[in-house]
Symmetry: C2
């Protein structure tokens, strides 16, 4: 096991109707003037935004609203948000929505205390401070409610890039599973896939002897595999939604990923797809992960066999463990199909002839390789995209 620091100071406020505590929570964490950041009509139509505003008003906290965050959140709205924060002397950013809204909020919070271009941080600049961010989560997926990470797409070149640091950990996150009961099936499935991917990026590692985090990862995967179909069959199944919501948090606050090298090349491969075609991140991951797995499997067949046995219930083939490993990948694919996810380029509207462009953009930052489990060069990336066609 490697040395590590683990710091997850977010206060998680979980359960029914907890969003009504937003005002008290903002006050507790020192907010006096809030930017409420959100996406489209659903938080308005559902009445959630009104409840949050009432809760702030009840505590005499003033606020400015900024809606309009789109999936794969863009830099344009971030610049607008930063400008508002500086002009209005905002001291607290409250994200009401899913991963895109939270990531956009984090970017605004970073930029609000920085004189330069916020994009610097997404190009590798180390962060030192940001406005406090809090979240009221409406979809179990990105894990951004408990992580110090943010992913933004810059409209200049459609570059999708991430950054991370403790300053971006939300001070509190309200997780009310009820808010996710009205999600369409496709978004629910995309969210589940995103969580699975967050765990698998950590699972495939070259670090040896990491049983505790292996087991935590496997436990999270087993939960998602059991609960996601229940939420699809009965969208109002509170307990299924609740299990998914806590699974999504622990999948990405890194409690299951510390002390081990992590991979993250599949997220890199996917980011090009969602930036280029504007498809859902989860759907892109459903397409790219099986392809990546098939390509790198022989690097450590036993690790793939372990997941196949422990998570997918495969019988171990002690003579030919690679058969077990492959069976696990096959079962993952079948699961993704069963929850309505695409597993090939065609399901995303992606095209084989775009692969050279995808590869080129992927390596445009100048890095020679991608990922850690297997370090992929541009030729590897091309072959993995081709496996996904």
């Amino acid at each position: 096991m490697n040395n590590f620091n683990f710091y997850s100071p977010t206060l998680f406020v979980f359960g029914k109707e907890r969003e009504n505590e937003a005002g008290k929570l903002v006050k507790r964490f020192g907010g006096t003037k809030v930017l409420i950041h959100f996406g489209g009509g659903s938080v308005i139509k559902s009445g959630l935004l009104d409840r949050v505003k009432q809760s702030l008003t009840a505590e005499d906290i003033s606020f400015v609203e900024l809606g309009g965050v789109m999936p794969n959140p863009r830099s344009g709205l971030v610049y607008t948000g930063i400008e508002i924060c500086k002009r209005e002397k905002i001291d607290f950013v409250l994200a009401v929505g899913g991963g895109s809204v939270i990531d956009s909020s984090k970017a605004i919070a970073l930029g609000a205390l920085y004189d330069g271009d916020f994009w610097d941080f997404y190009q590798g600049k180390a962060m030192t401070k940001a406005l406090p961010v809090a979240t009221i989560l409406t979809i179990s997926a990105a894990g951004s409610e408990g992580s110090g990470n943010s992913v933004i797409t810059h409209e200049n070149g459609m570059l999708k890039r991430g950054c991370g640091g403790d300053a971006l950990r939300p001070v509190f996150s309200v997780l009310n599973p009820e808010l996710t009961c009205t999600l369409p099936a496709y978004q629910t499935a995309c969210g589940a896939t995103d969580m699975i991917a967050h765990v698998m990026e950590r699972y495939f590692t070259n670090t040896q002897e990491v049983e505790i985090t292996d087991r935590l990862c496997e436990g999270i995967l087993l939960t998602i595999i059991k609960e996601a179909p229940k939420a699809l069959v009965n969208p109002a199944d509170y307990d299924a939604r609740a299990n998914l919501m806590w699974a999504g948090m622990v999948a990405h606050n890194d409690v299951c990923g510390v002390g081990r090298e992590q991979d993250w090349s599949t997220h890199g491969l996917e980011h090009e797809l969602s930036a280029f075609y504007d498809v859902a991140h989860g759907a892109g991951l459903a397409v790219m992960f099986p392809a990546w797995m098939k390509y790198v499997m022989n690097h450590d067949v036993m690790r793939f066999a372990q997941m196949a046995v422990r998570v997918w219930g495969c019988e171990m083939d002690f003579q030919q463990p690679e058969k077990t490993a492959l069976q696990g990948i096959y079962k993952l694919e079948q699961f993704l199909i069963s929850i309505g996810m695409p597993v090939r380029f065609s399901g995303l509207g992606a095209k084989a002839e775009d692969i050279p462009t995808l590869v080129k953009t992927l390596f445009s930052s100048g890095a020679a390789t991608l990922g850690n489990f297997v370090k992929l060069n541009a030729d590897d990336a091309r072959k993995i995209y081709e496996l996904a066609v």
Copy 2:
């Protein structure tokens, strides 16, 4: 799943030689005058205490030392520590040791900012504040390094009582598995048993549909069952020690216990044993848990069967699930024996004739019942003690 708050703001600093960062960490969290609290000779002999002091001195942080914490830490030293803190204007308590040292440090930190008797908090008074506490952990067991809990034995009546609150969460905890490599086998096994017990107190619940926390609990148990024997066979096995150390933290910071009713009656039953006979807490738990399980098993046979199958690898008996459930308890007992733990009163030097006294003290606070999974009255407690004879 029940509503809950989860707040674990401790910075965990994990890995080889990390104790040398103690001074920088104390400074980061605002400490200027530190009470270093520790136990007996081992932290002195090993040179750990000297390294910690050097690290503080290097940052110009002054300190006062208070050693002498014994297992099942007593109120007497807590009163001494509180007096020192008040007299010397201490603003930070640094625990160097295991659960007993940490629990004693938390009690001192509470009392240092309170005009009354610190014991009030162990008799149910709600806490509001404490001095910041940090830990340098030397044994994987109590999980006190990541929890907001403390257990102290009051010398007036030998009452062993616990208290908890966010103010007691350590601001940082240094977890260096190397420091545990010199632990005697018996202490290693007691620590592993304590961790198992922390998970099982959470696992046996009446809350339905808690798959995510069930799976996290099971993953932690599977890890301890695999890694503890490795640490016993080869005490210097760093990776086994590292896996146990992180398992011990996640077993008790409550990430695996939120949203579900927890039991904790076995800890209550055990506290009487360790207070009365001054035996190791882990050893007492090894004796009491199987007895409690046999007594309450029929309350929810399927929950016991689930643990038997998922954790102990038992084959499910679909006709007679109670056989599977019993087999799981049997396997737990066999495991405890295999790591050198007692599983009967005789192994602790406890006597059947003391049972009436144990039961009387257990219910001396006036509570009518103990625990939640099954609410135990005094007669139930007596029968469980008798099962352990």
